[in-house]
C-alpha cells in the first residue's frame, strides 16, 4: 500500500514536470505578444538597478514623476554581481516583474541577440524624442545596435586616470626623477612611461605610498583595468575584418606592462583587490594614481569620504584610449505595460531630469547636459570627461561579452599570479574566445 502511494506521487510529479516544460514553451510566445501597446494604465513600475550613486540620483528626482503622473516607481537596487543572474530568468519568463531595466554595456549584445529588449524606435518617432543629443560614443554603445534603438543611455562610466596632483607636482620627486632618468615627471603620454613613473614612486616612497593602486580580482576588475592598457597600447579584440587579435604583439606588450606594474609598483595583494579595496587605498592617500571610473572623482574630492579631497585630478589614460563604459535604460520585451515604462523613460531622460541628476552628481550621457553652464560650474572636470568619453573605446558588442570577460579575467589573473606567461595567457584567451558559441 505504502509503495503504491509513493509510486503514484512520483508519477504525478514527473507528469507535471513534463507538462510544465511543454506549457512554458507554448504560452511564452502568446503572452508576450498579447502584452503589446495596452496603453499606460499601470499605476506602479518596478525597476531593477544597481547600487551605485547614479541610482540614488534617479531615486531622488523620481518623486516628481510620481507627483506629476500618479504612477509609483519602485526601484530595486542590488549589487552588480547579482544583477545578471537576477535579470536573465526574468527576461526569459513569459512576463517580467520589471517594467524597466538598466543594461550594462557588455550585456547589450547578449540581450539584443536574444530578443529580450523592446525596440524603442516607434516610441521615439511618435513622441519626437531627440536622440541626437547623446554623445556618439555613448549612443553607439548603450543606445543603438546596428541602427536599431533598444536603449537610451543612462550614465557613463568611462575609465580615466585619477591621480594625485600633489605627488606629480612634488619638486623633490620631480628633481630625483629628472636626475635618475633624464625625463620630466609629469602625467605621461605613453603607458610605458606611466609604468616607469609608477615604479619610481613606489621605490622612492618605500611602502608609504604606491605609484598606482590596481585591482586584480577576477573576472571584471582585472579585465576592465587591463583593457585600458590594451586600448592605450593600440591593441584591440578584433581586427576590422573580424578576426581575433587579442594575442598579437601589442596585446602581449600591454599585458607585460600590466604585470610589471602589478608586481613592482602596486600594493602587495593588489592582485586580489576588487574595486572597493583599491578605491580605499587611494582614498586613504596611499597611492599616487588609479585607473578607475571617471565618476569616482567627485567621490574622492568629498572630504567626508576621502582623505585626499582637493588633491586629485583626472586625465586620460596614458596612451590616450581608455575603456568606455555605460548603462542604458531598456524596456523588457515581456514587460506588462510598455507604454507606462516608456512614459517614465522619456521623463527620466528628458533634459530637465538629466540635468537635475547631473547637478546631484550623476554622470551625464547627453552632450547638452555635459556642456551645460550650470553643470560645468559645479563639475569643471566635465570638460575633460567629455574629451575622455569621445576618445574611449568599448568592449565589443557581442552576445558572448560576459563569457569573454570571464575568460579574459581568468587568464589575466593567471598571468599576474605567475601561472602563465603573458603570451601563453593571451593565446588561451584567443583560443577559447574563438570557440565561444
Amino acid at each position: 500500500m505504502k509503495k503504491h502511494w509513493l509510486i503514484g506521487i512520483v508519477t504525478v510529479l514527473i507528469l507535471s514536470l513534463v507538462t510544465a516544460c511543454g506549457s512554458s514553451k507554448g504560452d511564452g510566445g502568446d503572452k508576450s505578444a498579447a502584452a503589446g501597446p495596452a496603453g499606460g494604465t499601470k499605476k506602479e513600475l518596478n525597476i531593477l538597478m544597481e547600487t551605485v550613486p547614479d541610482t540614488e540620483m534617479v531615486q531622488k528626482v523620481t518623486e516628481k514623476f510620481t507627483q506629476e503622473t500618479g504612477i509609483k516607481v519602485n526601484i530595486e537596487a542590488v549589487n552588480y554581481s547579482s544583477m545578471h543572474e537576477k535579470l536573465v530568468p526574468q527576461l526569459l519568463g513569459a512576463t517580467s516583474n520589471y517594467d524597466l531595466i538598466v543594461v550594462d554595456n557588455y550585456w547589450v549584445g547578449e540581450f539584443t541577440d536574444a530578443g529580450w529588449l523592446e525596440l524603442l524606435d516607434s516610441f521615439i518617432q511618435r513622441d519626437k524624442f531627440d536622440t541626437s543629443v547623446y554623445l556618439k560614443s555613448m549612443f553607439d554603445m548603450v543606445g543603438q545596435v546596428k541602427g536599431t534603438t533598444y536603449m537610451l543611455p543612462f550614465y557613463n562610466y568611462a575609465m580615466a586616470l585619477v591621480y594625485r596632483k600633489d605627488v606629480f607636482d612634488d619638486p623633490d620627486l620631480k628633481s630625483k626623477y629628472q636626475a635618475e632618468t633624464g625625463r620630466e615627471l609629469k602625467i605621461p603620454d605613453t603607458l610605458e612611461e606611466y609604468v616607469n613613473i609608477s615604479k619610481f614612486i613606489t621605490k622612492q616612497k618605500g611602502g608609504s605610498m604606491y605609484g598606482s593602486v590596481m585591482m586584480g580580482l577576477r573576472p571584471d576588475p582585472i579585465s576592465v583595468e587591463w583593457l585600458n592598457y590594451l586600448y592605450s597600447s593600440g591593441g584591440d579584440f578584433y581586427n576590422t575584418d573580424g578576426s581575433l587579435r587579442i594575442n598579437d604583439d601589442k596585446a602581449v606588450k600591454a599585458l607585460e606592462l600590466y604585470v610589471d606594474n602589478m608586481k613592482n609598483a602596486a600594493p602587495k595583494g593588489a592582485a586580489g583587490f576588487g574595486f572597493d579595496e583599491a578605491f580605499n587605498v587611494f582614498a586613504q592617500g596611499n597611492a599616487a594614481s588609479f585607473i578607475t571610473y571617471n565618476w569616482m572623482l567627485p567621490k574622492l574630492q568629498n572630504a567626508s569620504e576621502s582623505k585626499v579631497a582637493g588633491k586629485v585630478d583626472i586625465a586620460n589614460v596614458p596612451g590616450g584610449s581608455s575603456l568606455n563604459g555605460g548603462w542604458g535604460w531598456a524596456i523588457p520585451k515581456n514587460a506588462e505595460d510598455k507604454e507606462a515604462s516608456w512614459q517614465y523613460l522619456k521623463w527620466i531622460e528628458s533634459f530637465n531630469s538629466a540635468k537635475e541628476r547631473a547637478l546631484l552628481g550623476g554622470s551625464p550621457t547627453r552632450r547638452d547636459v555635459l556642456a551645460d553652464s550650470d553643470v560645468v560650474g559645479v563639475f569643471p572636470h566635465y570638460v575633460k570627461v567629455q574629451y575622455i568619453l569621445e576618445s574611449s573605446k568599448m568592449i565589443p558588442i557581442i552576445p558572448q561579452a560576459p563569457q569573454l570577460i570571464e575568460i579574459l579575467g581568468r587568464e589575466l589573473s593567471e598571468a599576474v599570479s605567475g601561472g602563465k606567461s603573458p603570451k601563453a595567457a593571451l593565446d588561451t584567451v584567443a583560443k577559447e574566445v574563438a570557440a565561444l558559441k
Partner: protein, 290 residues
C-alpha cells in the same frame, strides 16, 4: 476504506511528502533531464536531447579537472584540520566545570554568521594595506602578507577562514557525542589501570566512532560543495588557485548560461558525494564496536 490509523498516517504523511517532492525531487529530476540536453539560459524550454555529450565533455574540460584537484585539496585540508581542532576543543569543553556556557556561546558565534558575511568580514580584516590582521602583525614586527592576492597564500587563507567558520559545527557535534557517552566504560578502564591516553584511544574513540563518522561525512559533503566563501573571497583567483568545483559549475550556468552542461557536472558531483556517503556508511557499520 481506510482504517482510522491509516487515515491519520496519511494526513500527516502526504503534505510533507508533497512539500518534499516539490522542493527536492522536482528540481532533481528536472536537472537530470536537463543534463542530457543542450539547454541554455538563452533559450526557453529544455533544448535538444544530446545524450551523453555533456558527460563526455566534462572529462575533456581541463578547467573542470583543475577545479576537481583544487576541491580535493580544499576538502582534505579543511575536514582534517577542523576535525582535529574540533575534537580537541570538544574534549576540553567536556572536562571543564566552570564557565562552560560562556565558552560554548562564544565558540558557537562564527557558525551563526552566513558565509557571505564571513567572507566580507575577512576580506576587510585581511586587506593587505588597510586590514587589521597585517596591522597587528606589524605591531609585533612581522611583515604582513597579501593573504588573498598571493597565489601561494590564497588557498591557505581560504582554508583558515573556513576553519574559523566551520569548526563550531564540529565542536557541537562531537561535544554532543561526548556528553551522551556512558560513564561505565571509563570506570572500568580506570579500575584496569588505563592511563589518560589509553583511555582516549581505547574507550573514547571507539565509543565515539559513529559520531565521528557522521561529523566527518557531513563536513566533507558541505566542504565539497563550498561556493559562497570562494565567491566572496577570491572568485577562484589568483589565477585558478582557489577555483573549486561548485564555483566552476556556477560559472557554467550563470556566466556561460550553459545549464545543460552545468547540470551534468552537478550530477557528477552528486554521484561522487553519494558514493562517498555509502563508503562512509559501510565503514561505520562494518565493525560494530571494537
Amino acid at each position: 476504506m481506510f482504517t482510522e490509523k491509516r487515515k491519520s498516517f496519511l494526513i500527516f504523511f502526504i503534505p510533507s511528502m508533497i512539500v518534499l517532492a516539490a522542493t527536492v525531487l522536482y528540481p532533481l529530476i528536472y536537472a537530470l533531464i536537463m543534463s542530457f540536453t543542450d539547454s541554455s539560459l538563452k533559450r526557453k524550454g529544455l533544448g535538444n536531447f544530446i545524450g551523453l555529450d555533456n558527460y563526455t565533455r566534462i572529462f575533456h574540460d581541463t578547467h573542470f579537472l583543475g577545479s576537481v584537484w583544487t576541491t580535493v585539496v580544499f576538502t582534505v585540508l579543511v575536514v582534517t584540520l577542523e576535525f582535529a581542532f574540533g575534537f580537541i576543543v570538544a574534549l576540553m569543553l567536556n572536562r571543564i566545570r566552570f564557565g562552560k556556557k560562556i565558552f560554548f556561546t562564544i565558540i558557537i558565534v562564527p557558525m551563526l554568521i552566513t558565509p557571505v558575511a564571513v567572507g566580507l568580514i575577512w576580506r576587510l580584516l585581511l586587506h593587505p594595506d588597510l586590514g587589521i590582521v597585517n596591522y597587528m602583525l606589524s605591531l609585533i614586527g612581522i611583515e604582513g602578507n597579501a593573504w588573498l592576492g598571493d597565489a601561494k597564500l590564497a588557498m591557505f587563507s581560504v582554508v583558515m577562514i573556513d576553519i574559523w567558520h566551520q569548526v563550531p559545527f564540529m565542536i557541537l557535534l562531537l561535544l554532543a557525542g561526548l556528553v551522551s557517552m556512558p560513564s561505565e566504560p571509563y570506570e572500568a578502564a580506570k579500575i584496569d589501570g588505563a592511563g589518560r591516553l589509553q583511555t582516549f584511544w581505547m574507550v573514547t574513540v571507539p565509543l565515539m566512532k559513529e559520531t565521528i563518522i557522521v561529523a566527518i561525512l557531513f563536513r566533507a559533503i558541505t566542504a565539497i560543495k563550498t561556493y559562497d566563501l570562494i565567491f566572496v573571497l577570491t572568485k577562484g583567483g589568483p589565477g585558478t588557485t582557489t577555483e573549486v568545483i561548485s564555483y566552476h559549475i556556477y560559472k557554467q550556468a550563470y556566466t556561460f548560461l550553459d545549464t545543460g552542461y552545468a547540470s551534468a557536472m552537478s550530477y557528477l558531483l552528486l554521484l561522487v558525494i553519494f558514493v562517498l556517503s555509502i563508503v562512509f556508511m559501510k565503514v561505520s557499520r562494518s565493525q560494530p564496536q571494537a
